[in-house]
């Protein structure tokens, strides 16, 4: 390799360095829904059912949408809900929250308030103590989106 070529390859290397973190940051900002779902379940099949999602059909304000989840489970040491994950199809970060339940919770029910970037389908997946994944969803119409700066 000539000195000139080495010089140019060094220049190219220098130019690439600051680009990389910027690209990583962008990738972090817009995670794809499918990749997030796959990462959580590590590719395991998710069956529809047992999970009931309760949200208002029409949410006036996407900044704070009441969100409640129940899973059909006896909640015993042998058969209980291990975790409940809230996912959004249109938020820049699809993973909204994960709740880890205790076998002694008595009832597999959690509620919170979420941010939604526009009208969309929200998906909740629950992992039971036997390792199986179940899902439930709901459609929410959002009049005022939570993300006005980043759509």
């Amino acid at each position: 390799m000539s000195a000139r070529r080495r010089f140019f390859s060094l220049l190219a290397g220098l130019a690439a360095v600051p680009l990389l973190p910027a690209r990583l940051a962008r990738a972090q900002q817009a995670d794809s829904f499918a990749s997030v779902l796959k990462k959580i379940t590590s590719g395991a099949p998710v069956k529809a059912g047992r999970v009931t999602v309760d949200t208002p059909r029409l949410a006036d304000n996407g900044h704070s949408v009441p969100f409640s989840v129940s899973v059909d489970s006896p909640m015993t040491a042998a058969d209980h809900v291990r975790s409940i994950t809230l996912l959004s199809e249109r938020n820049p970060r699809p993973l909204m929250a994960t709740f880890h339940l205790d076998p002694a919770a008595g009832r597999a029910h959690v509620a919170t308030r979420v941010r939604l970037n526009g009208s969309q389908r929200v998906l909740v997946i629950a992992q039971l103590s036997d390792g199986s994944w179940w899902s439930g969803d709901a459609e929410v119409e959002v009049t005022e989106s939570a993300c006005l700066d980043a759509t």
Partner: protein, 105 residues
């Protein structure tokens, strides 16, 4: 940071009780900008832990999809009198905790 833990003041042993938690926190998404155009860094409560007399009963990993001043509601079984303690940490490393007493008859 201010938080509130709502519990029934008294419960029967073995009864399923509802625990409601609110924490005062802006839950900055990282997608907002100041008036000058400078981005406001992401800062959310990323982890919240609930203990009942020292034993963990609930854990939440939160993201920017949770509304400001996060509200959480879940259940547990009243076992013995004592206290329920909530502790959390945000992206800036700020920690907080709050506790509430419960009487089991």
């Amino acid at each position: 940071m201010v938080a509130r833990v709502h519990l029934p003041p008294a419960a029967k042993r073995g009864e399923v009780i509802e625990v409601r938690i609110t924490v005062q926190h802006p839950m900055e998404t990282g997608f907002r900008f100041e008036l000058g155009g400078k981005p406001i860094p992401k800062n959310v409560i990323n982890s919240l832990l609930v203990r009942y007399n020292g034993a963990q009963i609930f854990r939440a990993e939160l993201g920017s999809g949770i509304a400001a001043n996060p509200y959480l509601q879940f259940h547990t079984v009243a076992r013995q009198s004592g206290e329920i303690e909530v502790s959390w940490i945000d992206d800036d490393g700020n920690r907080g905790s709050e506790r509430a007493a419960i009487t089991v008859v």
